[in-house]
């Protein structure tokens, strides 16, 4: 994080050719990111969405739970930009309030799968041998099960037992860590025999210390890139599961449930579908753009 704060203004001051010396790969990548206008657009969009998730009251005065059946399916008009849904709730207010659940699931699921996958990948890559073999086979198996299908089975079995955001994030983390683990393992394998690791070993450092202090910080960059990319896909997965009736359930307000509710009235009230879909897509687009930019910045070959 301190790298981000230092690297960006320095790159701006130095202009096109930043000082190369004393700059780590991470610092250089972040400087590269700071120069891309698309990244700033994505960050601004995400900042607005984060504000929506934290304080939805700033964006609308309308209570999303106050629904007047008389307004059912009314199209957009002055004062209600996005129109009303089938229950007569304000679609704009529900879209604003839906940001919290959608983003929370994506954030927690990314955090969970990165932690599980990162830890298992580190253990497998660092130790090798039988531990590596076992973890790698389990990873293969979990990779063989598409996340969405696995989530359908778990959530359908658990039924509507509540738990909402946390439960959904947990299910997605448990099914989604395999790619992270494989990536982390590969990146640890590259570093395990580096000279500074051997030097630390000779100096008598314990395995745990070496793994956490020397290997982890140097192996974590690809994992963070993947995490940025998976944020976007988890937003989509949450919406898809809620849309199928398995993810978040009413009264939790989310974009997926809104779109699911709107589907039967596609022909007569398309605004119910359009606006939540639009916001959902813009969110995923911002996250994908950011993830793609981060991936490029950290990939030395694309320089």
């Amino acid at each position: 994080m301190t790298d981000l704060l230092q690297a960006t203004p320095r790159a701006a001051k130095d202009g096109v050719e930043p000082r190369r010396r004393n700059r780590s790969l991470t610092g250089e990548a972040l400087a590269l990111l700071g120069r891309s206008p698309l990244v700033w657009v994505a960050l601004v969009v995400l900042a607005i969405l984060a504000a929506m998730a934290i304080a939805p009251g700033l964006f609308t005065n309308v209570d999303p739970q106050r629904c007047i059946l008389l307004n059912s399916r009314k199209p957009p008009a002055y004062g209600s930009w996005f129109g009303f849904d089938i229950q007569g709730c304000d679609v704009f207010a529900r879209t604003v309030y839906g940001a919290r659940a959608s983003l929370a699931v994506a954030l927690l699921a990314t955090l969970g799968s990165t932690l599980i996958g990162g830890a298992l990948g580190l253990v497998a890559g660092f130790n090798g041998g039988i531990i590596d073999a076992v973890i790698s086979r389990v990873t293969d198996v979990v990779l063989g099960l598409p996340t969405l299908l696995g989530a359908i089975v778990i959530l359908a079995t658990l039924g509507n037992t509540g738990g909402g955001v946390l439960r959904l994030a947990l299910v997605l983390s448990l099914l989604g860590w395999a790619t992270e683990a494989r990536l982390m393992r590969a990146s640890v394998l590259q570093i395990r025999n580096a000279e500074y690791v051997r030097a630390a070993r000779v100096a008598g450092a314990s395995s745990l210390w070496i793994a956490l202090r020397h290997v982890l910080p140097n192996a974590v960059a690809p994992l963070l890139v993947l995490a940025t990319l998976s944020l976007g896909s988890y937003v989509g997965t949450e919406a898809t599961l809620s849309y199928l009736g398995l993810g978040l359930q009413p009264p939790t307000i989310s974009w997926g449930t809104a779109i699911s509710d709107a589907q039967p009235y596609l022909a007569s009230a398309p605004h119910m579908l359009m606006f939540p879909s639009l916001v959902l897509t813009v969110t995923v687009l911002a996250l994908v753009m950011l993830g793609e930019a981060v991936r490029r910045a950290f990939d030395p070959r694309s320089r």
Partner: protein, 308 residues
């Protein structure tokens, strides 16, 4: 070659056992009463509990039940749903539509993806390349069910070019719009992969040799560069079948196609867990087998690969 196939088949066994065990565990091994909520708001009557315990062998340890499940799977029996219908029969009836949809989608995906990828690779960084990259990002950002709903609204309801829903049994013509929707997102990654693979092979020695032999540019690109670039593409298409099938659940639900995905959506709505588990099991097994075939097909594409 035989050795490789044998080795690959042997590796397939633990992955198959592991994956089916996960599906089985997710369905039956999770904490909580598996019969909870099966009788509506009431407690289940004792007779029902006894019958269900007998049928699903709930009094046995999990691993024994997994054995029974595998044996049932081996003889093609996927259980009976709580409404009393044979899951295998339902799946057999549903499969043709899904296979048609998936094949059509893969065909569209490959045609679009490889064509776009090759043309983008011929002039990297130019207008076509940049435009397809940006459009690709936008397409990826659209969740599948949003695209499906929008396509249904615009091309089905408003313009009337395609039927809004699909009849049963389906024709290929009716499946065209759902297949395009399904292929659209998957096509993006494929075209990116093809693009970078073609760019790489355009700089290789064998392409330079082909050029110096005086071959036409079309033959250089189409035969020498493309064929060697197809391996990442084939790998991706194979690995991606799983994602495609997951997408099919949504697309079949939206377009009311009575395939495996449509069956899953219906079963979710009617809380029919056994049918869901059966359908997912079959999809996962199909996916594993397809991946095995993909691995074996490498030799046909790249003569440099030897298996021993």
């Amino acid at each position: 070659m035989t050795g490789y196939i044998l080795r690959r088949l042997l590796q397939f066994i633990p992955v198959f056992l592991g994956t089916t065990f996960i599906v089985f565990f997710l369905a039956w091994g999770m904490p909580g009463d598996p019969l909870a909520g099966k009788c509506g708001d009431r407690e289940c009557p004792d007779a029902f509990v006894a019958a269900a315990t007998e049928e699903f062998k709930l009094d046995r340890p999990l691993i024994v039940r997994y054995g029974y499940y595998l044996a049932d799977l081996g003889r093609g029996y996927l259980g009976r749903s709580f409404t009393g219908r044979d899951v295998s029969e339902q799946l057999l009836a549903a499969f043709p539509a899904t296979i048609r949809l998936a094949l059509l989608a893969v065909l569209i995906e490959v045609l679009l993806g490889v064509t776009i990828g090759v043309f983008a690779a011929l002039r990297p960084g130019r207008t076509f390349d940049t435009a397809t990259t940006l459009i690709g990002l936008v397409i990826i950002a659209f969740p599948g069910f949003v695209v499906a709903n929008l396509a249904q609204l615009v091309f089905g309801v408003r313009l009337g070019w395609f039927p809004v829903t699909v009849s049963d049994p389906t024709s290929l013509c009716e499946l065209l719009l759902p297949a395009i929707v399904l292929a659209l997102a998957h096509q993006v990654t494929l075209s990116r992969l093809t693009r970078s693979a073609v760019i790489e092979s355009m700089q290789s020695d064998y392409v330079r040799t082909a050029r110096t032999k005086g071959l036409s540019e079309a033959r250089v690109v189409g035969v020498h560069a493309l064929r060697n670039s197809l391996i990442p593409a084939v790998t991706y298409v194979g690995k991606d079948i799983g994602g495609l099938m997951a997408g099919a659940v949504v697309v079949e639900g939206v377009f009311n196609i009575s395939g495996v995905g449509g069956l899953i959506v219906q079963s979710i709505r009617s809380h029919d867990g056994i049918t869901i588990v059966g359908a997912v099991t079959v999809i996962v097994v199909a996916y594993l087998v397809i991946n095995l075939l993909v691995d074996l097909s490498y030799a046909l594409l790249d003569p440099r690969i030897h298996y021993d």
